[in-house]
Symmetry: D2
C-alpha cells in the first residue's frame, strides 16, 4: 500500500540564513521528501508555512496518511485555524512525525499537554543514537546504534508525558542523554517524535536518519482498528431475565 506523506516545513531559515541555505538550498522539506522517495512506497508532497493556509488545506489533510513536521523560529505563526485542523486530523487517525525543534511546535504541545521543554547546545559535536527497543518497527533495518558526527545537543529532562514506547536514546559527546525516539497514541492517531535535525547540519541526508523517518511514516500510517461511537447511547444489554 502506498502511504501518502505530506512533508511540512517552516522554510524560513533556509531562505534567509546563509549557513542554512548552504546545507539545504531547496529547504529541509526537500531533503526529507527525497529521503522518503528513495524508499519507493510513498506518495510524497510538501507544504510550507508561507503558503496559503500553510499548505495544509482540508483537501490536503484529507489526502494525507502521515504528516511530518519541522519548525523552529516561527512556531507562533501557525494559525489557530490550521492548528485545530491538524489536531483534529491526528485524532481522527492521521500519523504525525515530529522532528527535532518541532518539539516546541504548537501542534506537538497541544497533543502532549506539557511544556515540551529541554536542554540544548549548538556545539556541533557527536551524537550516538542507541536502540533500546530492538523489536520496534521504528528501528527496522538499523544496527544497534548509529552516529551523527555533528549535531545540536538536546538533553534531559525532556518535559513530555511518559511515551507509550521508547525506541531511541541519544548519547552526546558533551555528557548528556535524551529520549530521541518516542511514540504516543492520541485519539486514533499515532505520533512519533524523532530528535535529530538541526538546520546547520546535513542530518536529513544521513542514511540512518532517512531510514528512521521512512520507518516512522510506515508505522504511523498502520492499521486503523475498529469503529466506535460517542455520546448519548441506549443500553447495550437488555434488562435481565427474572431468576428461574
Amino acid at each position: 500500500m502506498t502511504v501518502r506523506v505530506t512533508v511540512w516545513n517552516e522554510y524560513r531559515q533556509e531562505r534567509t540564513d546563509p549557513p542554512v541555505t548552504a546545507i539545504y538550498p531547496d529547504g529541509i522539506h526537500a531533503a526529507i521528501a527525497d529521503g522518503l522517495r528513495e524508499s519507493g512506497d510513498f506518495a510524497v508532497r510538501t507544504a510550507t508555512l508561507d503558503e496559503p493556509e500553510h499548505g495544509l488545506t482540508e483537501a490536503v489533510l484529507a489526502d494525507t496518511d502521515v504528516l511530518t513536521w519541522w519548525g523552529h523560529v516561527a512556531h507562533d505563526d501557525v494559525t489557530d485555524e490550521v492548528l485545530a485542523r491538524v489536531h483534529a486530523r491526528v485524532l481522527d487517525g492521521m500519523g504525525l512525525v515530529v522532528l527535532h525543534s518541532g518539539h516546541f511546535s504548537r501542534i506537538f504541545k497541544a497533543l502532549m499537554g506539557t511544556s515540551c521543554d529541554l536542554k540544548w547546545r549548538e556545539d556541533g559535536r557527536r551524537e550516538r543514537l542507541w536502540v533500546v527497543d530492538p523489536s520496534h518497527p521504528l528501528a527496522e533495518g538499523l544496527g544497534e546504534s548509529f552516529v551523527l558526527p555533528e549535531e545540536e545537543m538536546y538533553g534531559e529532562h525532556f518535559d513530555i508525558p511518559a511515551p507509550d514506547e521508547l525506541v531511541f536514546v541519544s548519547w552526546f559527546e558533551g555528557g548528556e542523554v535524551f529520549r530521541s525516539g518516542c511514540t504516543f497514541r492520541r485519539g486514533r492517531g499515532r505520533i512519533v517524535y524523532f530528535r535529530p535535525g538541526h538546520e546547520t547540519h546535513p542530518t536529513y541526508f544521513d542514511a540512518n536518519v532517512r531510514r528512521v523517518i521512512a520507518n516512522a511514516a510506515r508505522w504511523t500510517a498502520g492499521a486503523r482498528g475498529s469503529s466506535h461511537t460517542y455520546g448519548n447511547r441506549p443500553p447495550s444489554e437488555p434488562p435481565g431475565a427474572p431468576p428461574a
Copy 2:
C-alpha cells in the same frame, strides 16, 4: 504532613436545578470538602466558577497542593487566563483530581491533548467499580469492588491517552465498561481522573467514593523529586583527555 486541597466546582446546577439542589443544597464542592475533612489530614478550601477569577487566584494556587475539579454545563466559561494559570501550576507540581463530567473541562482536555469524549446515559442504574491494580495507593483500604446503586453511565471508548496507570474499571448494569480510575503525569504534576459523580445522585456522600478522593489527594500531593533546568547549557562533561 497536611495536604492543602482546593475543591473547585462549577456550582451552577445546584443553584438552578431543583433535583440537583435537593441532593447537594450547599453545592457539590461542599460534599467533597466534607468528605476530605472527615479523614483529618487535609486543609480544605473551596472555589467556584462565579467567584472572581473563578476563586483560583495566583495566591490560592500557590497555596494549593492538590486541586479537585468538577464541572459540567459551563466548561467554556472558564477564562483563558485561569486555564493557563492552572495548567502551569499542574506542570509545576500541583496535583489535579478530575471528577466525572470534568472529563470535558478545558483543563483536562488541555492536559490530555485528546477529545476526552465517551458514551453516556442518564439511567440511574447500578455501577460497580473493580480494582484492577490492588497495590496502588488510590485503592488503599477498599475491597475488591464497590457498588454505586444509581449513577449515570459512562462507556468506552473513552478518548484519552493510555493512562500511566489504570486502577479502576467500572461495570454498568446496562452492559458497558469504563476505565474509571486513571493516573497521568504531566510535567511535575500528578493527575487522577475518577469517574463517578453525576449531579442527580448522592455519590459524593458515598464512603468508598470519599475514600478514593482522599487517596487521590494524598497520592497526587506525593513526593516531588529532583531539581532540573532547561534551556541553553554548557557541556556536562569536559573534553576528554588524549589517549595515553
Copy 3:
C-alpha cells in the same frame, strides 16, 4: 507475506469429556486452525501435548512465526525442555498468542513473572467485549463491542504485569469485568493474551473471535526491528581529543 502459525492445544478434554467432544470433535486446535485458514494469508499447522516433544520440536519452532496456546487441565505435563525451548523462541522474536485458560500455562507464567491468577465461574452467561483502544491492529475490522452469548466468566483482579497495551475489556452478566485483550513485549517477541474460549462453548467458531485471533497472529508476526549484541564490548566512542 504468509505468516506461519502453529496452533498448539492440550487436546485432552476433547477426547475424554463428552460435552467438550460435542463442541470440538476434532479438538479446539482444529477450530482455531480453520478460523485462521479462512482468512487466507496464514500457513497453519497444529501441535498437541501428547505428540512427541508436544509437537514443538526445534524444527517446528524454527519454522513458526506465531504460536497460539490453549491449555487447561494438564499445564504441568509440559516438560521443562519444551518450556525452555518455547521461551527462548519467544525472546528471539516468535509471536505468542495465549488463549483463555492458557493464562495458567507454564509458558505464560514464565514470561509474566506473576501468578496470573484470576476469578472464574462456569455459568455460561453473556460476555460483551469492548474495544478500549480502537486504533490498535488487534481490533481491526471490529465494531465497538461484540457479544459471546455464553461463556465462562473471568474476573479481576487478573494478576499480570501492567500490559504494554490494553485493547479489550470484558463485561460479564454476573457483574464482573476483565482485561481481555492485552499485549506484552518480551525480548524481541510480541505476546497477546486473549480471554475467550472455554471448552464447553463454541467460542472458536465465532466470527469476531476468529477475527481477533487472526489480527493477533498478524500483529505478533510483525516487523522485527534492529540487530543488537550483548556481553563484553569495546568502547563505542574513542577517547576524546584534547581541548584546543
Copy 4:
C-alpha cells in the same frame, strides 16, 4: 513509619578477591546497610548467600518490608526453595531493590521473564546518571544528574520488559547509554532496578547512590492498596429484574 529492610548480598568476592576486599572489607551489604542507617527511618538487617537458607528464612521474609539484592558470580547457588520463597513474598507485597549485577540474578529473571542481558565493560571510567522523571520519588532530593567517577559500563540493549516507569538514564564516557533506574510492579510488589555498584569501585559509599537506594526502599515499601480474592466465585450482581 519505620521500614524494615533486609540487605542481601552474595558476599563471595569480598572474601576472596583482594581488590574487592580493599573496597568493601565488611562486604557490600555492610556498606549498603550503613547507607540506609544514615537516613534514620529504616530498621536494617543483612543476609548473605552462605548463611543457612541464604539468610532468607520464612521468618526473616515475613519481617521484611523491602529486600535489596546484590549478586554477581554465584547466582546459580541460590536454591530453588529460597528463590520460590522470595518470589512469592514479592508477589505478596514485599518491595525488591535489585542492584547492578543482580540483573542476572535468578529472582530478577524470574520476575521479568526475559534474559535480562546487556553489554558491559570493566573500564572504570565515568558514568553520569540523568533524571528523566524528576517528579518520581526515586529521584527525591537529587540534582538533575550526578557523576560516578569510575564505574563498570552497562550498555543497551538491556533485555527487560518495558519498565512501568523510567527514572534514570546513564551516560558512559565510552559512548553508551543505559536505562539505569527502572520500576516494575509484579503482583502486589514494587520492584526497582538500580544500575550502579561494581564490586571494585566504592559506589555504595557515594552520597547520591545512597540517597537513591534509600528513596527506593521507601517507595517500594509504600502503600499497599486493596484486598482481593481469586478462584471460583459467585455472581457479583444478582440476576436482573424483569422489564417493567
